[in-house]
């Protein structure tokens, strides 16, 4: 319906006849990027815990062990992982299935999903997933009830602008589907009190590796 398109554009141009010039955009807000690494890890942990996630700081050489401990503690037996998740991140002692275009009903039968992330945002306790090799398709981190996410210490940035800048730096990245996760799924629709666990994973465990 190209006529609707033409007519809307005509209406817009007519509405803008007054010729108000576009303003200069003041960007005096903080850009971040100046927080030292130790503080970043502390802040990230504090903010994640504040919004209902569990955080463990782990040795970069013992990721698989830490994941296995979380699965055991939370009773997860069947675990789905992105097909290219590094072998040394995969837990022993549980059934680990790499995703191969699994249907949503098949995904619904898993207890947990294990992924990495692209950027972690400390100030808000946010994980940014970009459907990369360690993250997989978006539905992977949506259907199973437990999401275990591995964060490498150097993926943590302090502020929202710093996180967006990292994503924006790579055109290939910002065109990929991005999911920003801040804690377990929640609703505030009942008298505005926060209830955790609606449609997404009800449990989020974040493992921060220290090298």
């Amino acid at each position: 319906m190209s006529s609707a398109r033409e007519e809307m554009l005509t209406r817009i141009r007519a509405a803008l006849r007054d010729g108000t010039p576009p303003p200069t955009i003041p960007r005096a807000y903080r850009r971040g990027g100046d927080t030292d690494p130790a503080t970043l890890v502390d802040l990230m942990s504090e903010r994640l815990v504040d919004y209902g996630s569990e955080v463990r700081r782990i040795d970069a050489a013992a990721i698989a062990t830490a994941v296995a401990e979380v699965c055991a503690a939370r009773g997860a037996r069947r675990v789905v992982v992105p097909p290219r998740l590094p072998a040394h991140w995969r837990p022993a002692g549980v059934e680990v299935v790499p995703d191969a275009d699994l249907g949503v009903r098949q995904l619904d039968a898993f207890d947990a999903v294990v992924t990495g992330c692209t950027v972690a945002l400390a100030e808000t306790g946010t994980l940014v997933l970009s459907a990369g090799p360690t993250e997989g398709r978006r539905v992977l981190t949506l259907i199973p009830d437990l999401h275990v996410c591995i964060v490498l210490a150097d993926q943590i940035v302090d502020s929202v602008p710093a996180a967006i800048a990292r994503l924006d730096a790579l055109a290939s990245l910002r065109n990929r589907p991005l999911t920003m996760v801040s804690g377990p799924s929640a609703t505030s629709d009942i008298e505005l009190s926060r209830v955790e666990g609606v449609h997404g994973p009800r449990q989020l465990v974040v493992l921060i590796t220290l090298s």
Binding site: M1, I12, I164, A165, N175, M180
Partner: protein, 462 residues
């Protein structure tokens, strides 16, 4: 002038339970917002940036829309333009029919409420299921939204429990919020797993990249935008931001202003379609439905900056007492009072610009600094121009003539000084006679003093 809001407000104010629910809810969220906002030392700088970015979008809206269209198409999406609600609804119906789909799942979207999409789909034999917790409550009960962010804010937990027991629950429930949430999860999970077509609004569309951004909490938005094979996203044309990097401003302003959280649980950003991940078909509908009319008003167009955070509702002394239904529009509260009359024409919602005490709290909390009181005054003037009663217009014209000449004004003062005597008590007039009575019903008038300033000046300084 029409008194629709005044009448509806009177009914709402008489409802004790509604008032208690509203007071409780708005107080909770006001406090949360204040805590979240005070954490950021550069809040005012972010507001300045947000305001300017939105003004920039409007000033070059045609260019940005074309840029957005081409970016979406490059990324494999299809773009549709809709002049009005009927056209937008017809586009969505057509897409569903082309895929032989008779049930669609919806992410909460006030834009689709505004255009009556669910009803239009219903008429075409397609059922639309709301998946946001609050929207589900309203749909199950045939109710309509009373808040931009928390559409069922007027319902408390006991009411929700009773509703669920009548509709979707397998057995008796307690009024524990987590049990209520669990009930909705179980009911909708099956629906999500079979979903073939999703419908969403959008919080932001990025002109530069064609990216659509959806901000939510529950995960229903992620479900609807990733599980189905077909996705339709409907955006008001004002929802664009120029650059991807501009999200760094709005992803700070919106969550803190809306739910009072540092960040909402889930934000989805998608650009066209992605191989093997999410829908195979993406349709983006760009909606006018009155927005270009708003754009043409150089004062009123500011209303199009709105990012639908609802902070202005929660601080409004009028909204927090009447609730949203009194406004009779999908967009309630202060922003609704300036947006709705402009979208549909002031002659169709003439009481809304008066649904305010002009206290200015809305302007102070607005994350993009919309000067709501200024737009309210502007719209009030328009209402008076178009439909003030003849009597009032004549009275105003007469007063204008009397006040315009010094001699006439002095004479009027003298007459008023005598004429007011029967009505003055303690220096104020609380009740004027005859047709002027309406004016003093809601306000007191100070009596005309025995001596005017000019008279005093002449007497003492000469």
């Amino acid at each position: 002038m029409s008194g629709e809001f005044r009448l509806a407000a009177r009914t709402a104010l008489a409802d004790g339970r509604l008032r208690a629910n509203m007071q409780n809810a708005t107080r909770t969220i006001r406090e949360k917002r204040l805590r979240a906002v005070s954490e950021l030392p550069d809040w005012e700088e972010l507001r300045d940036a947000g305001q300017a970015i939105k003004a920039d979008v409007l000033a070059r809206l045609d260019d940005y829309l074309l840029q957005f269209e081409s970016a979406v198409e490059t990324a494999g999406g299809q773009v549709h333009w809709a002049r009005d609600a009927a056209e937008a609804n017809a586009i969505v119906v057509e897409i569903a029919r082309a895929h032989r789909i008779d049930e669609v799942l919806k992410v909460k979207s006030l834009t689709t409420d505004e255009i009556g999409l669910n009803e239009a789909l219903g008429r075409a034999g397609i059922s639309a299921l709301e998946t946001d917790f609050a929207e589900l409550i309203l749909q199950l009960d045939g109710d309509w939204p009373s808040h931009i962010l928390v559409p069922a804010i007027h319902r408390n937990r006991e009411e929700i429990r009773d509703l669920f027991e009548r509709t979707i629950a397998a057995g008796p429930l307690s009024d524990d919020p987590s049990e209520l949430a669990e009930t909705a999860r179980a009911y909708l999970r099956e629906k999500f797993l079979d979903a073939r077509m999703g419908i969403s609004g959008a919080n932001f569309g990025v002109a530069e990249t064609g990216t659509i951004c959806i901000v939510e909490s529950e995960g229903n938005g992620r479900m609807c935008t990733t599980v189905p094979e077909v996705l339709v996203s409907i955006l008001g044309i004002e929802k664009l931001v120029p650059r991807f990097a501009d999200l760094e401003v709005f992803l700070q302003l919106l969550p803190r202003s809306a739910t009072g959280e540092r960040m909402n649980p889930y934000t989805s950003l998608f650009t066209g379609v992605s191989d093997g991940d999410g829908p195979r078909e993406l349709h983006v509908v760009l909606l006018d439905a009155g927005r270009t009319r708003v754009l043409a008003d150089t004062i009123g167009r500011e209303a199009l900056h709105c990012i639908r955070c609802s902070a202005c509702l929660n601080v409004c002394p009028v909204y927090s007492r009447t609730g949203g239904h009194a406004y009779g529009s999908v967009y309630a509260g202060p922003i609704g009072a300036i947006l709705t009359p402009q979208l549909v024409g002031v002659e169709h919602a003439p009481s809304l610009p008066f649904a305010s005490s002009l206290c200015g709290a809305c302007y102070e909390v607005c994350p993009v600094k919309i000067n709501i009181p200024a737009v309210l005054l502007h719209l009030r003037a328009k209402v008076v121009e178009t439909e003030a009663p003849r009597r009032e217009r004549l009275g105003m014209a007469l007063a204008g003539w009397l006040f315009a000449g010094a001699g006439r004004f002095r004479l009027l003062q003298r007459l008023a000084r005598i004429g007011q005597i029967p009505f003055v008590s303690d220096g104020v007039i609380t009740r004027l006679p005859g047709p002027l009575h309406d004016w003093t019903r809601g306000r007191d008038l100070k009596a005309v003093p025995r001596e005017s300033f000019r008279a005093w000046w002449r007497r003492t300084r000469r």
